[in-house]
């Protein structure tokens, strides 16, 4: 536990430092470029003072740290709104999209990966391998664009942009339907992007397990192929897969930026991207904090789950 607390503290401090280490300041984005050179130092100060960014760094750091404990992450320099509000607004969209994509890609990618490893050398394996490697090597925006051109452009079935309908569809089923419609393509894109990678992990880990001696042993005992693969092989092959998913939990949010941009989806990825461009320190601090906590929590969860799946990793007192 202490270990995790330390990691969080380091992450929190880095979140403060990294945006400020990047060249440029928020002011470059608040005043037109043709005028940024003309404004007087007093005017600069006045703009920065609205966000407490004119204070000495040490004081800003202290305010930031104490703010975290009070649930106050400051005000966005771009939007002028509380950062907490902005993050809470974006979080559900990213969660729906990313959690959905992780789940789906796990089912599709890992499912196909295990199947392919179990039928090594078969048609399924070669075809699947080619397909998923192809997917894995496609840039996300390209997959997204192709899907858009096909479903929204050529077939004109799905909306091109947004997460919510423009004209209020009321509430209830109508709204759910509209939101689902807008979720289909980004979700599909992100799923396809992640599925390739998970396929490769699942396939190689199960293939590795199946060549172990204990599998030969199990087969020699006369167990059915089905039990050998599912009961013995897959169970052990789940471990590396779980680690992969836990690590991915963070990077998927980062990777969603591109997909969110293509589909004009209001997730965290876009917020981070825009805030990096505009050097919106308070938002960056807040968003990175959220990401860091998310990744650490995912790893923590994975650590808790390991002993349940793999008895070898159980410590004496757990047993």
């Amino acid at each position: 536990m202490a270990q995790y607390a330390l990691v969080v503290l380091v992450a929190v401090s880095l979140n403060f430092a990294i945006p400020r280490l990047a060249p440029g300041t928020p002011i470059d984005y608040l005043v037109p470029s043709e005028q940024v050179a003309t404004i007087t130092p007093e005017q600069r100060e006045r703009v920065l003072a609205q966000f407490g960014l004119e204070k000495p760094l040490a004081e800003q750091y202290w305010l930031y740290l104490t703010g975290i404990f009070q649930g106050d992450l400051g005000y966005s320099t771009q939007q002028g709104r509380p950062v907490v509000d902005m993050l809470l607004e974006r979080l559900p969209w990213t969660l729906v999209l990313v959690r959905g994509a992780i789940t789906l890609s796990l089912i599709i990618g890992a499912g196909a990966g295990f199947l392919s490893a179990a039928r090594r050398g078969g048609r399924m394996e070669v075809g699947g391998l080619a397909f998923f490697m192809f997917l894995d090597s496609m840039p996300p925006f390209w997959i997204g664009m192709l899907l858009l051109v096909l479903f929204s452009g050529y077939l004109n079935l799905l909306p091109v942009f947004g997460a919510l309908p423009l004209t209020g569809a009321g509430g209830g089923f109508g709204l759910t339907f509209e939101v689902a419609q807008r979720l289909v393509l980004p979700l599909l894109t992100l799923t396809l992007v992640r599925a390739g990678w998970l396929f490769l992990v699942a396939r190689s880990s199960l293939a590795g397990e199946l060549s172990e001696d204990y599998i030969v042993m199990a087969e020699a005992k006369g167990l059915s192929r089905r039990r050998v693969v599912l009961g013995h092989g897959v169970r052990n092959a789940l471990l590396p897969l779980m680690t992969a998913v836990a690590v991915e939990a963070g990077t998927v949010v980062g990777g969603a930026t591109v997909v969110e941009t293509v589909f004009s989806y209001p997730g965290l990825g876009r917020l981070i991207y825009e805030s990096v461009l505009s050097r919106d320190y308070p938002v960056l601090q807040g968003a990175f904090l959220l990401l860091a906590v998310g990744v650490i929590a995912a790893n923590f969860l994975a650590d808790l789950l390991y002993p349940i799946i793999d008895p070898r990793t159980r410590t004496a007192d757990v047993r």
Binding site: A22, P23, G24, D28, V31, P32, S33, E34, Q35, V36, A37, T38, R44, Q50, F51, Y75, Q78, Q79, G80, R81, E89, R119, G121, G122, R123, V126, G127, A130, F134, F141, M145, L148, F151, S152, G153, N156, L157, L158, P159, V160, F161, G162, L164, L166, F177, A180, Q181, V184, V229, T261, V262, F263, S264, P266, R270, L271, E274, V276, L277, R279
Partner: protein
Amino acid sequence: MRPVLVGVLGLLMLIVLSPATGGAQQTQEVERLTIATEADKGNLTPYSFRPPPGLHSELTNLIHDTLFLDPYTEEPIPWLATEATPNSDATTWTVTLRDGVTWHDGEEFTAEDVAFTYEYYKEGPANRYSHHASEVPVIESAEALDASTVEFTCEQPCPTLDLITLADLPILPKHIWENVDDPQTYTDLPVGTGPYKLVEYVEDQSYRFEANEDYFLGPPTVQEIEMPIVPDPSSMFLALESGQVDTVTRNVPPELEERLGETENVELVEGNRFSSIFYRFNAERPPLDQQEFRRALDMAIDRQELVDTVLLGSGRVGSPSFMHPDSEWYRPEDATFDPEQAQTILDEAGITDTDGDGIRESDGEPVSLSVIVPANDPQQIRTAELITQQLEEIGVELQVESLDPGTLSQRQNARDFELASFQGVPHLLGDPTQMIESLESLLFYSNPEYEELKSEWFQASTVEQQSELLSEIQALFVDDPPAFTLYYPDTKYAYNSSAYDGWLPAEGHGIHHKWSLIPEASEMMGIERVSQSSTLEENASGGRAAVYALVGAGVIALLALAVLLWRRSARKTDDDQI
């Protein structure tokens, strides 16, 4: 397997059952228009500035009004004001306001609001407009004489007060803004006198405007405007092609012109939004501190090649006059392209290639410059790469450094650059007061003749005098340019003509602005709507078919590959099955 199957079926049904969105209205009195815009610009108060891309003042001015129509018109056109009269040396102006104008919340618009606005811009933090009150011209005071008269006093003569200053500054309601201490953290939806009310703003998603039925020029032509924010250019134009939006605020990239031109109901029109790409230079860094060297560089740039290659011909070559050719303040001058002459100039200046490596030396150092360009603009990167080749011809090495926008502006502010690629915006290319200010602060321009003309400019008390002086200043640029203007790109806009065709290409603004939606504006500005004039010629077919052919070929190739792999693996192993 069951739940997966059900899920897939559900998804398919969802796709099949969904109604095709979009489709255009046919009437003149349009109920709703959907305009895709490329960037979130905050809550659209005059303080919610964001740099390009994306419209800014055009959006804030849907909600707000200015005293005069627009700073880029030839003559001042009264808007919230009915007239403005200067005293003999144009230092004091008496401005009469329209009667019966109300704010969106029903309060009456009065001279108090105007006086308050100017004070507020002067005192508060800087924004896109405040330089009009605090810099050029310095407005000493704005005083409400009675409910409909305001007296402006300038520190120096301000002959362009009605033409530019009063035409650029959006008026704020005093009863709301007098309680706002921090305009940048003000997040309420703004209240203005404009033709539209902002009724909904979803961050990074959309704006919704509703017509102001009580507008002083009568209700605007479109009842409701929906403005989704679509940051990705390809998605944006796809939305237009598939009829999901009626127009897009991004100007059409040259490579898309042909395809959009063929799309049914989609028309293109040149919007005359002032735009340019120019190179700032840092005259403190040798050898850029030598005027002859800069002149030689300028002469070695083949601007026509840039326009032909990078813009595919959709643009005009840059002029040393710097301002936009369509601006009233532009002095027609052509840039010289003469690499031979450039070589001679360099030879005479003693910048020669002494060690025979193809690169000239200045003071023993090889002449190697770098140009910093925004990494998010492929057009500017391509341009820089072409110029690298062009300068190689005269023995000057140029390195292209592409940087993210924040780093780019930081390097420029710290004067840590040699050449910097810069996009000229309407405010800079069409507004002489901003131009004069920028000459020093942005372009670090200085020479004795200019200093003299500038002080005369500040003393001039008529627009004619100022115009003449600005022309003389631009004449100086021919031999001593403040920056290298490379080109002025065309700014074509695409719209669905069956949805709305009342667009008004207003100089400096494109077509997406309030005047396109106000019946009287066409006559007041003397500009024809696109429905009255002929739109740009549609291009020959071929573009779309080629895309389909390419996609088709790709799909066939993939299928062939899959079949091949399938067969090969089938032949190889059949014994190792489960």
